[in-house]
């Protein structure tokens, strides 16, 4: 089993700083700057390696994997509603979070592959960008089905789709992919890589520090909601990763690519999804979904999930 990467220790440092009530604070502008950097860098990196593929051949595979990810909320919703006894709105909103993806978890997956010197398909970045969309739509439909009449208000689909399709992460990821692709094709990567590739890990470290601070502030919200959310927050991503591993293997991705797909299916959103759900399902309680997503699943994924999904991918590909 792979050792813990130094970069994820920054998450622990953040959690500890939060727990001892340190006055350490990441300025808001830095947090936003780091996340802009990471999204561009992930897109750019992916785009550069996509330059080696025939786009027309890749696109159908990519889209299939994105579409299949829309099933994840369908799996989560009944568990949340009938086992967890959450309201319709909360179940739909949490399902949308778990169907959506976390760029930082993906980044930790990338970091592991780089450390292990493993190949992966460059277009995974594009898949991640697109994968934000279907889960948010499915989740909203689930939360809303038959509920609109009750609350008397209609789902603002226009506003919601605008929010989803023009959100910061989609724009930067897709933009980064295009520019990276162009740079790769015209053989002009060189001057930009010093920033968007070489500094990736260092920036990720700072971002994880802030995630730790944020997570420690959210843990109390989760603790109140009891044991179900904790179990769900650990077990569900593993189930989703199994599904993702299977899909990746079925589409003949490399071992690295399969693992990244599993990470995408397993990871859950705490940035794009909350913003979308605020518009689509305002009666859902964001403390629940963000608490589970950031307080439980995110740390589980970066410490145990990512190495586990790598083992799963090796196993299905018969690698040792």
């Amino acid at each position: 089993m792979a050792t813990i990467q130094p970069v994820v220790l920054f998450f622990i440092l953040g959690v500890l700083a939060g727990v001892i009530k340190s006055d350490l604070k990441i300025p808001e502008a830095l947090y936003k700057s780091l996340s802009i950097f990471l999204l561009i860098a992930i897109g750019f990196k992916g785009g550069v390696s996509m330059a080696k593929y025939d786009i027309m051949q890749v696109l159908p595979i990519a889209i299939s994997m994105v579409v299949l990810s829309a099933l994840v909320p369908l799996l989560a919703y009944p568990i949340l509603k009938y086992v967890g006894k959450f309201s319709k709105a909360d179940s739909g909103a949490i399902a949308a979070h778990y169907g959506s993806v976390s760029a930082v978890t993906f980044a930790v997956g990338l970091a592991l592959l780089h450390e292990l010197n493993q190949y992966y398909e460059g277009y995974m970045a594009l898949i991640m960008a697109l994968m934000e969309i279907p889960a948010l739509v499915t989740g909203t439909i689930l939360a809303r089905a038959g509920a609109a009449s009750a609350s008397g208000e209609k789902t603002p689909w226009g506003k919601l789709l605008h929010e989803i399709l023009t959100g910061t992460s989609l724009v930067l990821l897709i933009g980064g992919v295009f520019i990276g692709y162009y740079a790769g094709v015209t053989d002009n990567v060189a001057p930009l890589d010093k920033m968007y590739m070489d500094l990736f890990m260092g920036v990720l470290a700072l971002f994880l520090l802030e995630m730790g601070l944020l997570a420690s502030a959210r843990l109390s919200a989760v603790r109140e909601k009891g044991i179900f959310l904790i179990i769900f927050g650990v077990a569900f991503p593993v189930a989703a990763a199994v599904f993702g591993t299977y899909v990746g293997w079925w589409f003949e991705l490399s071992a690295g690519g399969t693992m990244l797909l599993a990470v995408l299916y397993a990871s859950c959103s705490y940035i794009a999804a909350p913003a979308a759900m605020r518009i689509a399902v305002p009666e859902a309680d964001p403390a629940l979904s963000i608490g589970a997503s950031l307080g439980i699943t995110f740390p589980f994924n970066i410490f145990l999930g990512v190495p586990l999904y790598w083992e799963m991918s090796k196993w299905i590909h018969n690698i040792t």
Binding site: Y31, K32, L214, I271, I290, L294
Partner: protein, 99 residues
């Protein structure tokens, strides 16, 4: 003269300003990044995961303008949430009249 203080969600500010301009308001001030508690619970713009920002619009105008404005605003306030209050004040002459 009247001073009017309105706190609304940041997403409502454009609509609110339009109403102000329609009511011939010629001066107002906006303070951003306001947190608080209201009917929709706590709202804190500092929370990077859940940015809910309020803004305060502060304006001084003549009594009649204030009356007209309040009448236009009232039907909209349900959608805006927040708070809108009116109080009396004295305008110190000197600066260019912007009310």
């Amino acid at each position: 003269m009247k001073r009017i203080d309105i706190v609304v969600g940041a997403d409502k500010i454009d609509e609110l300003v339009d109403i102000l301009l329609e009511n011939k308001i010629r001066g107002y001030s906006i303070i951003r990044r306001i947190s608080g508690l209201g009917a929709r619970g706590h709202r804190t713009p500092e929370d990077v995961l859940n940015e809910e920002e309020n803004v305060l619009v502060f304006l001084v105008c003549e009594n009649d303008t204030a009356k007209a404005l309040v009448e236009s605003l009232q039907p909209k306030l349900k959608g805006f949430g927040g708070v809108c209050i009116v109080s009396d004040c004295l305008w110190v002459e000197g600066a260019a009249v912007s009310y």
